[in-house]
């Protein structure tokens, strides 16, 4: 190796990236910026709204403050309803998601066709937002908490089913084989060999999803599917922003508490 070559390979000043790496990096940056710019230009955003945005925002703040604390008394029942919708919705989810998860796990499904069906149900359930499910179920069951429960359940099936199916695919096959060797039936293998292995995941995701569902059920009322969202929607439509502040603060409290509960339970399970 000549001195020249050595100098090229081990330069005096250390650099993190070689020139080639730098070039690819910058072309990536350029590409991303280009895509973003293309999106912005296509959306024809009304930039003029930015001019008075701060005025509008200040207007909103002055209308929202001070909160109308006397309104809290009327909120307790809808808040409980919100929590009920989330909880019952989660229970329904567990019942429905359980068989679908086994259908969508490669090692417990019957054949490729059933696996595909299971996977499609999970993807379809996850793709449609809770509120869109809410629209659908309000059309079916009429406005009220029932529509909310089904909306929550139908969105959560995909979430729970996917995580549980992944857990089933990762179980220790040795245990299953050992139980099969004792002459256990398919159901017994499922019950004694597989279920105990995925039970912690089921509990964990249930609690985690419950906490997400509390957050989701706060807005279900916007489409008429029960909970505190109904009151929020009517307050907004009547421009009663001081009531809106109170609702937002209580929602914040409930979601924070549920998140804390869920985190504590999950920490104890794992």
């Amino acid at each position: 190796m000549t001195v020249e070559q050595h100098k090229n390979k081990y330069p005096e000043v250390w650099r993190r990236f070689s020139p080639r790496e730098t070039l690819t990096r910058y072309s990536w940056y350029l590409g991303i910026v280009f895509i973003a710019a293309w999106s912005v230009s296509h959306l024809d955003i009304p930039w003029i709204y930015f001019l008075d945005a701060h005025i509008q925002a200040m207007d909103l703040v002055t209308r929202m403050w001070p909160p109308d604390w006397e309104y809290v008394a009327e909120l307790i029942e809808p808040l409980l309803e919100t929590i009920h919708i989330a909880t019952i919705g989660t229970v329904v989810t567990v019942i429905i998601a359980f068989p679908i998860a086994f259908l969508s796990a490669r090692n417990t499904t019957f054949n490729t066709a059933t696996w595909m069906i299971g996977r499609f149900i999970l993807v379809a359930s996850r793709s449609v937002n809770t509120v869109v499910w809410g629209l659908l179920f309000v059309a079916i069951f009429g406005p009220g908490p029932m529509a909310g429960i089904w909306a929550i359940a139908f969105r959560s099936i995909g979430f729970m089913g996917k995580l549980v199916a992944e857990a089933i695919e990762e179980i220790d096959e040795g245990i299953v084989e050992a139980i099969e060797a004792t002459g256990a039936s398919r159901l017994q293998v499922l019950w004694i060999g597989i279920l105990p292995q995925v039970l912690p995941v089921i509990y964990g995701t249930t609690v985690y999803r419950w906490d997400i569902n509390i957050r989701e059920s706060t807005v279900l009322g916007f489409v008429g599917a029960g909970g505190i969202g109904i009151l929020l929607y009517s307050s907004i439509n009547q421009f009663l922003w001081q009531e809106v502040t109170v609702i937002l603060i209580t929602v914040f409290g409930v979601v924070l508490v549920s998140e804390f509960v869920s985190a504590t339970v999950r920490k104890r399970i794992s």
Binding site: R16, L80, L135, G142, V219, G226
Partner: protein, 271 residues
């Protein structure tokens, strides 16, 4: 499931399944409590059972009207989907950028306590409120249209990515940081030579995941007037235009599947 390691109680040679909660009193107590709660909550909810029974023929009617899905208004559909995709792209891009300073400020091992608390408060605050609630405030400030939707998704992406980033930085071993500091590196140097190489793979992975999540969420901000395919969907629903609604929902599902494939492909390659 650490109970499996524990030796069986003396006297009970009978095998039994592993239980989550070993103590029978707590186990049955929790079950009873859960059942009692279910009865109470179902009773407390004001559910009109007769209305529900009437729902089944309605559902049938709706399904009949939904099939076959009506894809004939292609232009409206394509424009809506494209708008959703663009909203998701911009929001993810802005979220990625804004999340870097916020994530750094939210890492307790890098910044002083007051900055940490402010950053964390912001993250918690925007994580707690559902996108729709944030969207309403932005619709009030910026009026209807995709701008409100983009800003909503930006807020939620920023808080999501920055939370992950902050946790990632906090979990870093202190050794490397001390080593780089010991060479006399100042704070920006520390960021470029110590934090960023360690945090980058996960940050990119989370960002790509968020792009995919934004695609899904961009369908919902439209319901309160935030633009995108959701606005078209809400309109078609309120006109009882169910065959068009099904077409929109199917397009959303297709979009999400494509997004998920892309996201998992990229994340696979990042590893």
């Amino acid at each position: 499931m650490n109970a499996s390691a524990r030796p069986q109680a003396e006297g009970s040679l009978q095998w039994h399944r592993i239980r989550m909660i070993e103590h029978p009193l707590i186990r049955y107590g929790l079950t009873v409590l859960a059942i009692a709660y279910l009865f109470w909550s179902v009773g407390a909810l004001d559910i009109d059972w007769s209305r529900m029974a009437a729902g089944l023929p309605r559902a049938k009617n709706m399904v009949v009207r939904m099939i076959p899905p009506d894809f004939s208004r292609t232009q409206l559909l394509v424009r809506g989907v494209l708008e959703s995709v663009q909203m998701a792209l911009i929001a993810s891009f802005l979220g990625m950028i804004l999340a870097i300073p916020l994530g750094i400020c939210g890492a307790s091992n890098l910044v002083p306590k007051p900055i940490y608390l402010i950053a964390r408060t912001f993250i918690i605050l925007s994580r707690t409120f559902h996108e729709i609630l944030v969207a309403i405030l932005f619709v009030k400030i910026f009026s209807f249209g995709p701008l409100a939707g983009v800003l909503t998704l930006t807020v939620s992406s920023t808080s999501f990515i920055s939370k992950m980033l902050a946790e990632d930085i906090e979990n870093m071993p202190s050794g490397q940081m001390e080593a780089v500091r010991a060479t006399g590196a100042n704070f920006p140097k520390l960021l470029t030579y110590c934090i960023s190489p360690q945090a980058l793979p996960r940050y990119l992975g989370v960002s790509i995941y968020r792009l995919d999540a934004n695609l899904r969420h961009s369908t919902v901000v439209g319901i309160v007037g935030g633009g995108g395919i959701g606005q078209v969907l809400a309109a078609s629903f309120s006109r009882y235009d169910y065959d068009f609604s099904l077409a929109i929902i199917l397009s959303i599902i297709a979009l999400v599947i494509v997004g998920e494939f892309f996201s998992s492909w990229v994340r696979e390659r990042l590893r």
